[in-house]
Symmetry: C2
């Protein structure tokens, strides 16, 4: 077993802070990702929070500030469960780094995406108890993990719009796949914002603050933004702040670089359409998009859950590129090329997915 | 002046039923499109409805059916105004037809998009008066215009999800740009579903029906769907039913095919992100996307309104392709090529926009 109870075949981008994604085959065919394979994106050392002394503060633009123990939270609010896919904004950054280097960032593959059943209290219920004021336009989350990657170094924080917080889909979760939330995933309590980039689902949550403005934390104001290629990534407030996940797909099997024998081969993957839409169709091509076949879609287990897919293609002799793209429920599909999406921090690569295989009999 | 009070330089795709889009320069630089330039998409002859005898029926899964005269509607409900861009799902179909013909459909350019201020009653208020039942999942609209293009010929109808109908953004509109709704645009009353394809904004409205299922009208069940390229477009219920408009952009100036002199040239256009998102950035390229400059964005006049943009580029001697693409508020951008989006009915072409100009000194 690897660090933090993870499988020993995780692709570990950094040991400290711990950043790792599963081997892609470990994501295939399973609607829920096992805890030992769920990706980990951390910005600082993993805190060791004592659940007995842990307190959640709810403050800011509310009628009454709250200080809640874990027992207060679990006993005082209805428990809700939902299945949600989390995806890091840096998912598939490796595809960008093949175009042009992105110094200081890790080369995530498509494995920075995983799905779990989350259980906890509704953020909306907690905010209702505190009496959120009408002028609160954003809900900020703060955590104790100090990141040396921030400028200046600071503990992690971010925010979501109040409208999203009130939807009844955002959880303060203490369980993951019906087990206590593991320490590396944010124990005792983390935020889960279904359909939004993982960066908004703050782990080791210790403070919820209702504000007029978005969080001014480095990870909201400067990082996790799509910048024009020529922009200095150190500038705060530039570019497009990422929120809802973009339509994306990945081929999980066969592996990139696989050596196969000619004949029928099953191609399998995931597709995910984020908060607002669902996956309606997945296409697979062996000729770089000149022609496509439609994959068979698995169950849509909820509005914020990936859709697994598979199809069988007949591979001939030679070097072959297998391409996949998804379409969402509004009829939108993905851009073709990572080259045209490249951005200085390497976020939101939702270009067509391609794997290269070699077939020899 | 052309037919129906329109400018005489409209591009008329069909005289009967009347289908026409403005010359693109008539859309440029004006946040609201004048009535004499607003595009017209009709599926049958334009009805001549007497406003005195007109009645709106509200029925289906409601507590009490309503029959409302125009006076009932105007006097009995609060008047709301909003600015909304309407866009036909066939906007930019000409770009598809350059790839492969689409028999029986008109070659719309990017002018099947226009913006107006609409005034009327909220559909949500009317449904509340009727007492919409919880099992009503869709709200259907019916009109008297009989279309010979439908199979079998039938009067026009469509539907939207009940959740969208209840948002307080869908109007039963009797005014357009502060003037009485023109006959060709649906007088006396039409639906306006902001951010959705124009096909859901039913003109000459005469019936609103709360239902369990989407409308089974031809224009909902069969037309206005994105089908895989190899699918027979006559099949009902196939493909992806179009609803929220996809992120798109168009270059309105210079015109495609323009002859210019080398030097600085202003490029101007619109971009539109549909219901859920807004336009965050527009890029312009002179080298087919190898490098981009960011255009200056005009005002965002509301959540469901296009954003006008412009920039000045320096053109050299020769044949030049000017390319534009938009990014939305979630960080998504448009696919590169119409070839990869082609579909049998020619809907939802939101590929990069390109115009070809020739520069000679």
């Amino acid at each position: 077993m690897g660090a933090w109870g993870k499988r020993d075949d995780m692709v570990v981008h950094r040991a400290e802070p711990y950043n790792a994604e599963p081997a892609l085959w470990a994501l295939a065919d399973r609607p829920l990702t096992p805890l030992d394979a769920f990706y980990c994106r951390n910005h600082g050392p993993v805190p060791d929070v004592d659940p007995e002394s842990w307190r959640l503060t709810v403050d800011g633009l509310v009628e009454r500030s709250l200080t809640l123990s874990l027992d207060d939270l679990r006993a005082g609010f209805a428990e809700h469960s939902l299945v949600a896919t989390l995806q890091c904004a840096g998912n598939r950054r490796a595809g960008f780094m093949a175009v042009r280097d992105i110094p200081g960032e890790d080369p995530w593959g498509p494995g920075a995406t995983s799905t779990a059943r989350w259980s906890g209290a509704l953020l909306a219920d907690v905010l209702a108890r505190a009496g959120q004021r009408p002028e609160a336009a954003h809900i900020a989350f703060a955590a104790p993990d100090v990141s040396e990657l921030a400028d200046p170094p600071q503990s992690y924080g971010s925010s979501i719009p109040a409208g999203t917080a009130m939807t009844g889909q955002v959880l303060l979760a203490w369980a993951m796949n019906d087990r206590p939330l593991p320490r590396v995933h944010g124990a005792p309590v983390r935020v889960v914002v279904p359909g939004w980039i993982g960066a908004r689902s703050v782990k080791w949550l210790e403070r919820v603050t209702a504000r007029r403005e978005p969080s001014d934390n480095y990870f909201q104001a400067t990082a996790y933004r799509v910048l024009p290629p020529q922009t200095d990534p150190a500038l705060a407030g530039e570019g497009i702040s990422l929120g809802p996940v973009l339509l994306n797909t990945a081929i999980l099997r066969p592996a990139d670089g696989a050596r196969l024998t000619p004949g029928p081969v099953q191609v399998a993957g995931y597709a995910f359409a984020g908060e607002e839409r669902t996956v309606a169709r997945v296409d697979v091509s062996l000729d770089d998009g000149s022609s496509w076949t439609q994959a068979e879609l698995g169950e849509q287990a909820g509005p914020w859950v990936w859709r697994l897919w598979r199809t069988t293609v007949e591979l001939g002799e030679g070097d072959i590129i297998i391409t996949a793209r998804a379409w969402d429920s509004a009829g939108a599909t993905q851009p073709e090329s990572a080259r045209h999406l490249w951005n200085p921090k390497g976020y939101a690569n939702n270009s067509w997915c391609r794997v290269r295989v070699t077939c020899r009999s």
